[in-house]
Each structure stands twice: as C-alpha cells, then as structure tokens.
C-alpha cells in the first residue's frame, strides 16, 4: 500500500522523519519497501491568477493569457480548453523541468513570446489528467511557489508490503495506529459532526440480508440532493498518490474513506434501486452480471451479490454493477459500508480472476466494528465534497456481532517461547499499546486474560499474543542463544554424498553439470522415442507454457536443449550431465514414482583444440584422425569410472535395441539382471530430426540402485608376494566377436594363476582381411603361494590359445 506521510501525520503525533518511520514500521513487521520523496522539485512553479484571455493573433487554436503573480503579470501562450478568467493556475517559469522530462524555455510560439507555461496535473507529476491546465482552489493566493501555497504537495510516499494476516494495516489510520503502538506515540481518529435532515432513511430504503454468514454486517446511510463534480485538487492528489484514479466527488469520497480507514464502501444511485430495496443474497445459478468496468461476468456458484427489489446491482465486496453506478446527474445516493466474510469474497474474486482495492481488503479481513463509523465518515466527507443533505438514521443489519473470546496468556510461556524473561507487567504494557484488553486471571495463576481488538481477527491463540509481545518488544532486542540437546551421529547424508561423489567423478571425466527444468513439452519424450506412444506422462493442469507442461520422464530432452543452446553460442565440443528426478505416473496412486537418474550427452571432439592433440591420434579402428570425435567408449569410460568409484560390481554392458540409438553403437547397463539404463550414439535419423549434425552420445542410468544396492563390501587382499609373468596373445577374429566374452573365457581358464587379462590392441584395416579384426590380449600369470615355473605358465597358456581358437574361430598371429 502507498502511504502518504502527510496523511499519516494527520493521525499520529511524531517528529520522526519518513526514513525513521519506515525503519520503525519495517522492524515492527509492516515492511516498507521504498520511500519516495515527491513534489519537492516544483520550486519554479508559481500559482498565478488568470487575468485576461485573448485569442492568439496567428493561431485560433491558441490563446494569449495574461496571468498575475504577486507583483507582476506575464503573458503566456496556452492551448488548453479550460481557460477561465479568475481561476488560479500553475505557471512553470523558464528553466523548470517538467514531469515528462521537458524543460520550459522562453520562446516565441507562432510569433508571440511566452516566458513560461501553464501546466496540467500530468505535466507537474501531480496527477493523470492532461485534458487541460490544472485549476487550483479559488482561495489559493497567487504568486507563491506551488510548494508554499499548497504545503501538502511536498510529501514522502512509503510503499508498505502488508502480510496477509494484517488487513488492518491496509489503511492510513491502521498504519498510524500500528506506528503509534510501535513508537509509543499518541494516535487520534479524526473527529467530525454530522448534521442530519429530518427525513429518515427508513422511509426510503429497506435492507434485507439473506446470507448473514457471508455478510455479518451491512450498514447504509443516505444523502439527497448532491451535485456530482470533480473533487478538489487536494483530494485528487491524495488519491493519485495512493495509486487510485480520481473519478468524481462521490466516488472519490468512498475511495478516500477506503484508504483512510480500510473499510471498502460503495455508493449506489438511489433512483436506480428498484423497489427502494437492498437485498444481500447469493447469486442465481449461472447468473451473468455486468460489473462497472463493462465486463460481462459469469458468476461462480454461491457468489455473494447485492440486489435491489428485482435484480443484482453489485458483486458484493468486489465491484459495483454498471446498472447502478453513479452518473453525472445522480442526486441521491445510498452508501454501503458492509463487512463481508473473507473466504467468500476470496473464492469469488479468485474464480473471476479479479482483485480490486475492495476485494483485496475483504480477503484480508475488514473490522466489522468499523463499518458504522465508516458510514458516518463517508456521509460527512461526501457532503463536504458534493453538498446535499444527510438523511437521519442509519440502517445497520448486524446479524452476528463479532465476539473476541479471551485468550489465556501465561507469563512462563511468553518467556519460554521468546527465550528471555518478561514480567507480567511488561507483557501487559506491550499488549495494551496494541489495544489488547488485559485482565488478571480469576484463578490467580501467573497469566493474563487477553482480548484482541475488533480489527485483529488474527489474535485468537496464546501464541498469537506472544508474537505481539515479541514484536512490540522488538525482535532485535531478543538475546541470542544456542539450542541444546543430545547430538546423534549423522547417518542421513550417505545417499546424498554418494550422489555428489558420482557428480565429482563425472566432472573429472570432463563433464559439466547442468540443471534443467523438471517440466518439458508434452510431445518431446515420445518424439525422441524415450517412451512409447501409450506410456503415460504427468500433465500439469495450469502450465506457464506448453514448453513446460509435463513432468519429464527422461533427462535427455533437457540435455538436448542445453546442447543446442550451447552450439548456437558456438561452444562446439560439449560434455554435459545432469543428476535429477524423472516422474512416472503410477496407476491408482495419487503421486508418481520419482526416480533419481543420471544422464549425459556429448558432441564434438574428444580433446580440446590444443597443440598437444592436433598432430593426430591413431584410432583403434586403424584410421589416423587429427581431431578424434568423442565416441561410445568415452561415455562408457566415464560411466565405468562412476561404477568403480561407487564400488559397484556385478554389472555388465549388453547390446541395446533402443530405437533412437545407433544399433551397432549402443548398450544397456545391467546389474543383477536389472536393466539400469542405456548408453550409445544417437541414431543419425534422430540427430537429423532434432536439427543437429555429427555424432552425439547419450546415456541415462538409474542412480539410486547404484547408490544403495550394488555396493561391494571391501575386503583387503594381500599384495602378491611372488613375481608375475606376462604373455601376449594376438588373435584374428571376426569383427562381431565380443571382446568381453574372450576376456571372460581366458579368465575362466586361469586355474587360479591368471591374475589379469587386458585387451591392449585392436586393429582393423590394412593387412587384415575384411570382416576380421586383430585383437591382442596381455595375460598376467601370477600365483599367491609360489613362483610360477615356465612349464606351468606354458601349459595354461597353450590351453588358453587352444580354447580361444576353438571357441571363437580365432587364428593366432605372431
């Protein structure tokens, strides 16, 4: 809410500056987001009386206006339509900087010199009206700087951010009351006296409330014979600075009261109320209503309406109807000052997507005890602005008067929860500043019986009162202590730490970690083939955009879009990975399954463009490439590093049949007969479909099983005490032969004396027949309990050669 300091100071006595007040409010829980000094830059704008108006000799659309200041006159060229001799206007002299940034210069306008400019509200930054020049009140003395003539122009605007529980501070009076309590100053409500006519409201109007649960109180007053006109400048400026657009005196008066005391008001044109009746009731099913902004609205069920004898005339607590609004010729008005129940207003406003000054306040609670005062205050102000007579009598339908029950507040509980000792007297003095009524308990215990004021619906529990004590005392003055308790060993981080370890390993394999959105476009996973056409996804009912409308079932789409973005910015060789959740709907369950997965994507070359690598690298497939592309084995190596680092065993890689992957360059990771995920090169067709080129590797593996289940227990193995012997085995096999199978066969034939088998060379190409490849294994022979003899090694090695030849049709190379 925008709070004018001048206005605030009408109700609270203080010498504090705007910034000091802002600090007190902020530290008391009414956060002041900004303080703006306004109206201080109008030192060269003067009040001036229009003495004479002549037509401009060269342009009939312009006038030459003679204005009188205190001791001199000036002739100013002006094109405004509202010039009138005798009015007081605002003259900006040469050098003035106007609100729009325009600088007033002395210049000739169509041949007539004009040493200044008569300004509109808008040009002075004092309003929105630019239809004519600003006309000040007739009793304003001419020739004074605007700021001296009208002292209210210079002001500070405090922008407060009021929390949803403090609807009582959504007004100047409420803010003043709170400030007074916080700084211990005096707060005074405006005093006024109403002169009523003899005619009584009861003879002209009846009110019926059919929904007392939604409308605890409905107060009405009437005025007759008033005259609709624009409000005086001071009122317009007050509204403008509070962010409310001035309309006409009666409507402005209702808005002024709303801002002043927080009670939303509505003024009906009495003559447009059929049967001189107001009925508070719920809307008809499917009712359509035109609000005064001209919008036709289909009302949600049980919306509270204000009707006359025949039809609806206002959407209660939110906006009036077009059919009963104040018009230029309105003379008699009914002022509604009602208290509507918060949840009801909120339901309707929310369903209609509306938020008005009125609904915003009703949703946050309006003081039912204040409605009566506000009705009188409105009648008084309307009469001041628009004349007319206030009818005697008030109609007050107060079906369920608000009763605040006493709350027991124990001294020990206050001290215990806040963490510092308070005496009972201290507590009482704080609470009394907030107009909370405090009495001793009849039981004589060390406690107080407290009753909150009518405007504080949020004080119905002991803890609510404790918060008030802490707030008035000042949170800053509460001491600092550390909680005590038995500390247990922390075993809660095991999984988290293993997941971060996995990320560290990926990092050292050259992968950069990304975080992408958990929601993606609904078609993506299917288009990429990551899920089947009939697999379900979790759809968001109200997504921000279609791009973010389903929960991801794979991290691959996010990685692809990160890859594309980086390629667009000319980062060309990329290795990205992400650890995050995927979401799978569960039949019959409310919540989906959430699985932690790790996925990655690569493109471009294996080594950065660096002098070490650009001389060429011999590929295992026999070609010499200057800049080898990142391939399947780079990704597999990174995953193997993770599996190794996590201490996982019993896993294996098998060929994959994932349609979106290259059939010959992809694999599934299995562990204990469970598939944990895939890795491989994206098929050329998919690469083309996503608008990229080159070779792209992807992988996605379920992480949680690796963190939890497949964890090997480490048992120390003594270091070998006897020397090893190495023998190489070089064979020629068909290219579809699995290197892993050969290795496992050799290991199995080991008779406990083969300690390791490593494939150290693989070659296809020149001197090798088509369809074949040369593979060379280095076999290490070693025993735990003796030095092996040549004969022993030779015997096993011969057996290995024989078996490998037989099993894989391999021929031995020398």
């Amino acid at each position: 809410m925008l709070v004018s300091l001048n206005w605030l100071k009408e109700f609270v006595e203080t010498d504090k500056t705007a910034y000091e007040i802002a600090e007190h409010l902020t530290m008391g829980g009414i956060e002041v987001e900004s303080v703006t000094h306004v109206g201080a830059d109008l030192k060269t704008v003067f009040t001036a009386r229009i003495n004479e108006i002549r037509r401009h000799p060269n342009d009939e659309r312009l006038a030459v206006v003679q204005v009188g200041l205190r001791d001199r006159v000036e002739e100013i060229v002006c094109g405004a339509p509202n010039l009138k001799v005798g009015d007081i206007a605002a003259l900006a002299v040469v050098g003035t900087e106007l609100a729009g940034g325009l600088r007033v210069e002395s210049r000739e306008i169509r041949g007539v010199a004009s040493p200044g400019m008569l300004c509109s509200e808008k040009e002075l930054g004092l309003g929105e009206d630019s239809s004519g020049i600003l006309i000040l009140d007739p009793d304003t003395s001419p020739g004074l700087p605007l700021g001296s003539a009208l002292t209210y122009i210079e002001d500070y605007i405090l922008e407060t951010s009021v929390t949803p529980n403090r609807g009582d501070c959504l007004s100047i009076l409420g803010t003043a009351r709170e400030l007074a309590a916080l700084i211990g100053a005096r707060y005074r409500k405006p005093a006024f006296e109403i002169n009523e006519t003899e005619e009584n409201i009861d003879s002209l109007l009846s009110i019926e409330c059919q929904a007392p649960d939604l409308c605890p109180r409905y107060v009405a007053r009437m005025l007759k014979g008033l005259k609709i006109s624009p409000s005086p400048f001071e009122v317009r400026l007050k509204l403008y600075r509070a962010g409310v657009r001035p309309i006409s005196n009666v409507v402005d008066a209702t808005n002024l009261i709303l801002l002043e005391c927080g009670q939303p008001l509505h003024a009906f044109d009495y003559r447009r109320l059929a049967e001189s009746k107001i009925v508070v009731r719920c809307c008809d099913d499917g009712e359509v209503f035109v609000t005064l902004d001209g919008a036709e609205r289909k009302l949600p069920q049980n919306s509270l309406m204000i009707g006359d004898g025949k039809r609806s005339v206002a959407l209660a607590g939110i906006m009036g109807g077009l059919n009963s609004e104040i018009e230029p010729l309105t003379q008699d008005v009914v002022i509604e000052s009602a208290c509507f129940e918060r949840f009801g207003i909120r339901r309707t406003a929310k369903a209609l997507g509306m938020s008005t000054e009125a609904s915003f306040r009703f949703e946050r609670g309006v003081d039912p005890e204040g409605s009566f005062w506000a009705a009188n205050r409105a009648a008084f102000i309307i009469q001041q602005l628009a004349g007319g007579n206030i009818l005697s009598g008030i109609i007050d339908v107060y079906t369920n008067p608000v009763v605040r029950s006493p709350v027991r507040v124990r001294t020990a509980k206050v001290s215990g929860l806040i963490g510092t000792d308070f005496s009972k007297d201290q507590i009482v003095s704080y609470l009394k500043r907030l107009e909370i009524v405090c009495n001793d308990m009849q039981s004589g215990e060390d406690a107080i019986s407290c009753v909150g004021p009518s405007w504080r619906w949020d004080l119905d529990r002991e803890v609510d009162m404790i918060e008030e004590v802490a707030r008035v005392h000042g949170f800053q003055r509460i001491p600092i202590s550390m909680p005590s308790g038995k500390i247990k060993p922390d075993r809660s981080q095991t999984l988290y730490k293993r997941a971060r370890l996995t990320a560290e390993i990926m990092k050292s394999s050259g992968f950069n970690e990304i975080v992408s959105m958990s929601f993606i476009a609904s078609g993506l996973c299917r288009e990429l083939g990551l899920i089947e056409q009939d697999e379900k996804q979790l759809h968001i009912i109200n997504p921000l955009t279609e791009e973010h409308s389903v929960m991801r079932r794979s991290l691959i789409p996010g990685l692809i879009s990160a890859l594309k973005r980086n390629l667009n910015f000319k980062s060309d060789s990329l290795r990205l990975f992400e650890i995050g959740k995927i979401f799978t709907p569960v039949d019959g369950g409310d919540l989906p399954r959430e699985d932690l997965v790790m996925s990655g994507i690569t493109c471009g070359v294996r080594f950065p463009d660096n002098w070490h690598y650009n001389r060429g690298e011999v590929s295992i497939y026999g070609k010499v490439e200057a800049r080898p592309e990142t391939d399947f084995y780079d990704v597999k190596g990174a995953i193997e590093n993770c599996l190794d680092g996590l201490g996982c065993e019993n896993y294996m890689f098998q060929t994959s049949d994932k349609g979106f992957l290259h059939p010959g360059k992809s694999a599934m990771l299995h562990a204990n007969n469970h598939s944990l995920g895939f890795l491989g090169e994206l098929s050329p067709k998919k690469v083309r479909e996503i608008g990229l080129t080159g070779k792209i590797q992807v992988f996605e593996i379920l992480l949680e099983p690796l963190l939890v289940e497949y964890r090997k227990k480490v048992v120390f193995k003594p270091l070998p005490r006897y020397p090893h012997v190495e023998r190489d085995l070089s064979i020629l096999v068909e290219t579809n032969c699995s290197g892993d199978d050969i290795k496992h066969l050799i290991s199995r034939l080991g008779h406990d004396i083969i300690s390791s088998v490593i494939l150290f060379d693989l070659y296809r190409g020149e001197s090798i027949p088509a369809g074949f490849q040369s593979m060379a294994f280095r076999i290490r022979y070693q025993s735990e309990d003796r030095t092996l003899t040549d004969a022993e090694v030779q015997e096993v090695h011969s057996h290995v050669i024989e078996s490998v030849s037989k099993r894989f049709g391999a021929s031995i190379r020398d």
Binding site: T26, M27, G29, E31, T163, R166, F343, G416, L417, I418, G419, R461, V463, I466, E467, A470, R471, F475, Q476, I478, I480, S481, M482, P483, G485, I487, S492, Q493, Y496, A503, K507, S508, S509, G510, F511, N512, E513, I514, M517, S518, F519, L538, H539, I540, I541, N542, P543, L544, H548, M551, R565, F569, R575, K581, F583, D590, E594, F607, N610, W611
Partner: protein
C-alpha cells in the same frame, strides 16, 4: 719397489689431470688398476720379497689403490656431470605452453552452494531429509496451516496435477513427513527443487530451496536467532550484520524475515539492496502449534523453529549474478565460471 709404487701413483695422478673424457678415463683405470693392470703387475713381484718387507709394501700398495680408485671415481663423476650439463643446455621446452589436460568439468553452482549450506547446517547438528517433488496438497498446504481459500496461497502460485496433487511450492512438506514418522528431537535440513507459477528476472518457475526444522523441548526464538546468526557468520563471514523483522508465514508464529547487511556495498546502499543496505535472505519463525496437531506432537511439551531460503538468492549474492534465469540456461560459458 716402494719407489716404483710411488712413481706409479704420481704418474697416474698427473695423467688423470690431462684426461679429457670418460672413455680415456675408463681405459686408464683398466690400464692402472685392472686385473692385468700396472699395479697388479707390480704386486706380482711381491712374492720375491722378505715377509716383513712384503707386509709394508702390501700396505702401501693397498693405500695407493684405494687412493687412486677414489681419484678415478671423482674424476669420472666430474665427466658425467659435465656431459649431463651439456645435454641439459641443449634440451629446452617452452614452459609457458598449456599443460596436457584431459577434459575437466564443473559442477553446477547451485549444487555446489547447496552442498556448502548442508555442510554448515550439518555442523550445527542438523540431519539431511528429502521428499517428493510432486506432493499432496495435504502436505504442501493443509498440514502447514494453509487451508484452501487462504490468501497465503497467493504468496505461492501453484502448479496443479489435480485437485489434491501439486508440484511442491516449498520444501516444507518434508518437515511434515519427517515429523509424522519420528518423535522429537527433530533436527533436519531439507534441500530440494520447488516450483511456483512465476517467471521473470527474479523468479524462475523451478528453483531450489533449503529449509531447516528444529523441534525439541524448550526451543525458543532466541535459539532461532542463535542458529541463524551462526549460519550467517559461517557462510557470509563474521561481522556481517543481520536483523530479524517480524513477518507472517502460515506455518510459523511468531514469524521473522532475516536480512543481512548488503554483501555488495557493505550496508551503505546500492542497487542490489535497493539502497536500504539490507538484503532479505530467509524467512523463519517458531513452528506454529497448529502444525503439531497434524503430526501428533503435544504443543505444551514441544516447541521448535523453522527457516527456509532460496538457494539461487544465496548464489546470486555470493557471486553477484543478476538474473535468476542464468542458472537454468545451462550455458557452459556460465557453468564453467564456478
């Protein structure tokens, strides 16, 4: 004989000085000290002497041998070092060229900051707790004292899957889930992704939060101040001022927002802190007793505090990042800076 030995020694010493390389040194060593060398040859005649003379000559001969061996060794060492030195002078690489690096990635800055925060709070006695991101309305709102139609729901615009299933708008549901299945003391820290229907320079529809909860006997607002002061000192540095302002959250009472002195300008006022000198970094408060009703704790026995902060906010302050969206664009030029 003695004279012969002495003159052999002197001649050898003299010619050693004239040698110019390791090869001739090695030849000379063989010639003088080898099995068929001059010294050995000379000593072969020893058997012709009287036993008493033999002993004296033998002793001298041995001394001469040891002396010459050590002279040869030191001369040889000189030649090796000289040769090495010449080689070193020829060998030269450009040490300013970049080293041979295999790719080295970076972790996402939000995960790095999360890990740092977990570490700080772990040191203060909190245990880690996590929960689902797609959550029941009950855990996300109802059990946190935010009934339907409560204006507090406006503070957190929500993504819905159905009437009662939402994307969690904060990590607070983890607090309820944890309290439901354990008895006090509960001391947990809950990091994770959260979602709100909002997108601009300071709001991302997905962002990360970390929340803490401490429930036990006799826990007070002063304790909350103590723990958060310890956190700010540990993470932002001792001497960074902080202040507690009353605020409102449906799940805490009393509630406080915590500001720290602007880490950019030190409190004198700048754009980052909107010229207030203060930066809002977290929301906190004493757990509202209404929550204990949902999890079956006795509010007369237990009290506690909770707090929560946005991880992006902390990272933005720590590194001076102006736009929250940069965290989720995944541009490697951004990612690799941290």
């Amino acid at each position: 004989m003695i004279n012969k030995l002495i003159s052999l020694k002197e001649e050898t010493i003299k010619s050693l000085g004239d040698l110019s390389d390791q090869k001739s040194l090695s030849e000379m060593r063989t010639r003088v000290l080898g099995r068929k060398g001059e010294l050995t040859t000379l000593l072969r005649t020893l058997k012709d002497f009287q036993p008493e003379e033999r002993s004296a000559i033998g002793k001298l001969a041995n001394e001469i041998k040891v002396d010459l061996e050590s002279r040869f060794d030191s001369r040889e060492k000189f030649f090796i070092e000289e040769l090495e030195q010449r080689d070193l002078e020829k060998e030269f690489i450009d040490v300013t060229l970049p080293g041979r690096r295999h790719g080295f990635g970076k972790l996402h800055v939000l995960n790095v900051v999360t890990a740092e925060l977990i570490e700080v709070f772990s040191g203060l006695g909190f245990q880690l707790a996590e929960g689902p991101e797609v959550e029941l309305d009950y855990y996300n709102f109802e059990a946190l004292n935010i009934p339907k139609d409560h204006p507090a729901r406006d503070m957190q615009d929500t993504f819905y899957f159905s009437e009662n299933v939402v994307l969690r708008t904060h990590t607070s549901p983890v607090q309820i889930r944890t309290m439901e299945k354990s008895r006090p003391p509960v001391r947990i820290i809950c990091p994770g992704k959260v979602y709100r229907r909002d997108a601009d320079i300071t709001h991302s529809p997905m962002f990360m939060q970390i929340e803490g909860l401490w429930v036990d006997r006799h826990v007070s607002l002063a304790d909350l101040k103590g723990v958060l002061t310890a956190f700010v000192e540990e993470y932002f540095g001792v001497g960074i001022g902080l202040r507690f302002r009353p605020s409102f959250f449906p799940f805490t009472e009393p509630s406080a927002e915590v500001d720290i002195q602007c880490v950019i300008c030190g409190g004198s006022g700048c754009r980052t802190c909107s010229f207030t000198g203060w930066l809002e970094i977290l929301g906190s408060g004493m757990v509202d007793p209404a929550l204990y009703g949902f999890v079956g704790y006795d509010p007369e026995v237990y009290s506690g505090f909770a707090f929560g902060m946005g991880i992006e906010r902390i990272a933005m302050l720590k590194y001076g990042i102006p736009d929250i969206r940069s965290f989720y664009e995944n541009d490697v030029r951004f990612l690799r800076q941290f």
